[in-house]
């Protein structure tokens, strides 16, 4: 008995320095959730890198008053709702003050409910499905646009700029891709275009020859491709070209990643896609480019949004002078500044506005091509 007491005392003595160091070094914990493995690992890695870059910049600019450092916990969701909820629980246990993520709308929706139970702020840089912010969760924010804005913009582009009469739609049955495809279908019919077919492929498919042969037979004016992630989209584009399908390919925001052109090569040239407008001439964007590109490579779809999301969160915590979610939320709502991707100003729902325009793939760049109000961009 005595021995046991003694050993416990010794253990206690050993632990004491750790306790002190834990108290002395006060860290602010920020989490991120995105797919770091599985088919969307590349897009998820962009989000992680974007958020990490924001934290680095913030720390170099003086860091958070009252904290010695900011610790970043990137979690893997694998675009799987169950794993996303597990990641959310893990972040809650780590006592993070805010989460940047997730990527797939189908992961963001269930995991945000888990985070909401513990009042953890979540800012998604990439989930565009309208349900993300339509459920009235108090601490759910969104940095990117909404699909119910993207779909009408895309349909308008097909009609007014491309003069399309018939459309062939393909999606891969995720919350995001199917929601958007349904939206485009509805908007296109409303604008008087004919949807000749709405087909589906499976997530993780690599061979699209059957569907593309079907599209070749249908020979619609536009082949609208709503896939989760750039990788399947690039494979589908390349296969379509090799099969001799001549419909104009139009796609969406998930494809906004320069790797798309690497994989689809010449087949990518002249493809249109809708994506939120980012002014690439602002000093904020230039500064981000200088910092991000040498370390992480070309800027892709969600890196800028993840950067802005993390920056907004850190600014709000700093302004609130506390990590109390209610106070941080109040500060988030007050934010109004030019970020890297867009102007940041949240509305009552937690959205920060959509600004979808059409881009055209020219060489290895996405060139702004058309916008809904004034038409072609010069």
């Amino acid at each position: 008995m005595r021995k046991r007491v003694l050993s416990i005392m010794i253990m206690g003595l050993i632990l004491v320095p750790f306790l002190f160091s834990a108290v002395a070094a006060k860290t602010l914990k920020i989490g991120s959730m995105s797919p770091l493995t599985g088919p969307y690992a590349s897009d998820g890695t962009d989000i992680k890198n974007g958020a990490r870059a924001a934290i680095e910049v913030f720390e170099e600019a003086g860091g958070m008053p009252g904290y010695d450092k900011i610790e970043f916990f990137p979690q893997d969701t694998a675009c799987d709702p169950r794993q996303a909820v597990a990641a959310a629980n893990k972040l809650i246990n780590l006592e993070v003050v805010g989460v940047i993520g997730a990527y797939c709308s189908s992961s963001t929706i269930p995991s945000s409910e888990t985070l909401d139970e513990e009042d953890v702020i979540m800012i998604t840089p990439a989930s565009t499905n309208e349900k993300v912010t339509d459920r009235g969760l108090p601490y759910m924010f969104r940095m990117c646009g909404r699909d119910d804005d993207q779909a009408p913009a895309a349909a308008k582009f097909l009609k007014e700029s491309l003069g399309a009469k018939t459309i062939f739609i393909v999606d891969d049955k995720t919350t995001y891709s199917q929601g958007l495809a349904d939206g485009v279908k509805k908007a296109s019919i409303a604008l008087g275009m004919e949807v000749v077919a709405h087909e589906h492929v499976n997530q993780g498919d690599k061979d699209f020859s059957a569907i593309l042969t079907m599209a070749k037979r249908a020979n619609a004016d536009v082949f609208y491709m709503s896939l989760q992630g750039y990788s399947p989209a690039a494979m589908m584009t390349l296969q379509a070209k090799r099969l001799g399908m001549d419909s104009q390919i139009v796609t969406q925001d998930a494809v906004f990643q320069p790797k798309y052109m690497d994989v689809a090569k010449e087949a990518s040239q002249g493809v249109y896609l809708t994506y939120g407008f980012t002014d690439q001439t602002t000093p904020q964007y230039k500064a981000f480019e200088e910092r991000y590109v040498p370390k992480y490579g070309k800027i892709a779809a969600y890196a800028t949004y993840a950067y802005d999301a993390a920056t907004a969160l850190l600014y709000a915590i700093k302004a609130a002078g506390s990590t109390d979610p209610e106070k941080v939320k109040a500060e988030l709502m007050k934010l109004d500044f030019q970020g890297v991707a867009k102007k940041i100003k949240f509305n009552a729902k937690g959205d920060s506005g959509s600004s979808y325009i059409a881009y055209k793939v020219v060489g290895d760049k996405f060139v702004p091509y058309w916008e809904p109000v004034n038409g072609l961009i010069k």
Partner: protein, 328 residues
């Protein structure tokens, strides 16, 4: 009123001849048939490895899909190297052949190593232990590729062998011809190896009875290693063809084709070489025709319905699994 640019839609420039003609029913069928043969050929090459290994040591080698992915990666690296030193433009056929050799040799070596590390120590244990070890190896190799090669797609260089023949509206690419003919050649070659050579005889003997074959001076360890090497080499060949055909490879590409090829091997009668070929072609065809004529979202469902249906009526697969003469 000022005429805004978008008031005159003019951007859809489409070739006139295509506007006039669409694929007719026959052409559509033939095009889908070609698509199915290509996909089925690739499944068949992977399925051969499953079936050979099962034939010899009754192990379902779940890491086999990873050999396929590794082959695709090695091929991409070798081809990029040849393109870098400028040999690709002058000697494309030699470069491609060399890449095939390198990838097949590498994967054969990898498979022998995997067998020595993960399966051989468990040979005396229950089959379940080796099966779990195979699953673990699959995850290990897949994540290893992710960590060493990155999460982004690796692109195959250039537009190598990307020409195509057009018969009316039907398109056949050189690669599709190459995949189907190479698959056929490998099947004939493999059958000759197994049934006409001494090594083949040794393999069949090992498959029937390891102890007995050891008594007649057949080194069963050597034969098992050889089986793994041949199977992985075929998977590597499929990996390169996959990379050329689809334009890029990714670390997770082995999983789904691996499962499909496993299904193909079971469908044909696991342990049976010709059965694996036939199974691969059937799975590929059913998938493509299911997607092309019914709906794309159910194509995997159709493939597995066929599998369940065949196994229900013929539990040993189409060609049967226990005919001793045809088993590896």
């Amino acid at each position: 009123m000022r005429l805004l640019p978008w008031h005159k839609p003019h951007l859809l420039v489409r070739p006139n001849n295509l506007k006039l003609r669409k694929l007719n029913t026959m052409e559509y069928f033939i095009q889908q048939l070609i698509n199915g043969l290509t996909l089925g050929g690739m499944y068949a090459l992977i399925a051969l490895g499953y079936t050979m290994v099962y034939g010899v040591i009754q192990l379902i080698n779940f890491a086999h899909g990873e050999f396929f992915a590794a082959g695709g990666y090695v091929g991409a690296i070798a081809l990029a190297y040849f393109a870098g030193i400028g040999y690709m433009d002058s000697h494309p056929v030699i470069c491609l052949t060399a890449s095939f050799m390198i990838a097949m040799a590498y994967c054969a070596y990898l498979a022998v190593g995997v067998e020595k590390i993960a399966y051989k120590p468990l040979r005396k244990n229950s089959r379940l232990a080796a099966l779990l070890s195979a699953l673990g190896m699959s995850i290990f190799l897949s994540n290893g590729m992710m960590l060493t090669q990155g999460v982004y797609d690796k692109v195959y260089p250039g537009e190598l062998f990307q020409g195509r023949f057009d018969f009316g509206m039907v398109t056949i690419s050189y690669l599709q011809i190459m995949i189907v003919s190479l698959t056929a050649c490998l099947l004939v070659g493999l059958n000759l190896l197994v049934f006409k050579t001494k090594i083949g005889m040794a393999m069949r003997a090992t498959a029937q009875d390891k102890t007995m074959s050891a008594l007649v001076a057949i080194g069963s360890n050597k034969i098992i290693s050889l089986t793994f090497a041949i199977g992985a080499g075929l998977a590597a060949a499929a990996g390169i063809m996959y990379g050329l055909y689809y334009g890029s490879v990714k670390y997770d590409m082995g999983f789904v084709p691996g499962i499909k090829a496993f299904a193909a091997a079971v469908l044909g009668g696991i342990g049976n070489i010709t059965g694996a070929m036939i199974g691969g072609l059937i799975i590929g065809m059913v998938e493509i025709f299911g997607a092309g004529y019914i709906s794309g979202e159910y194509k995997d469902v159709f493939a597995f319905i066929i599998l369940i249906g065949v196994l229900y009526f013929k539990p040993n697969g189409i060609m049967g699994e226990n005919i001793d003469d045809t088993r590896v």
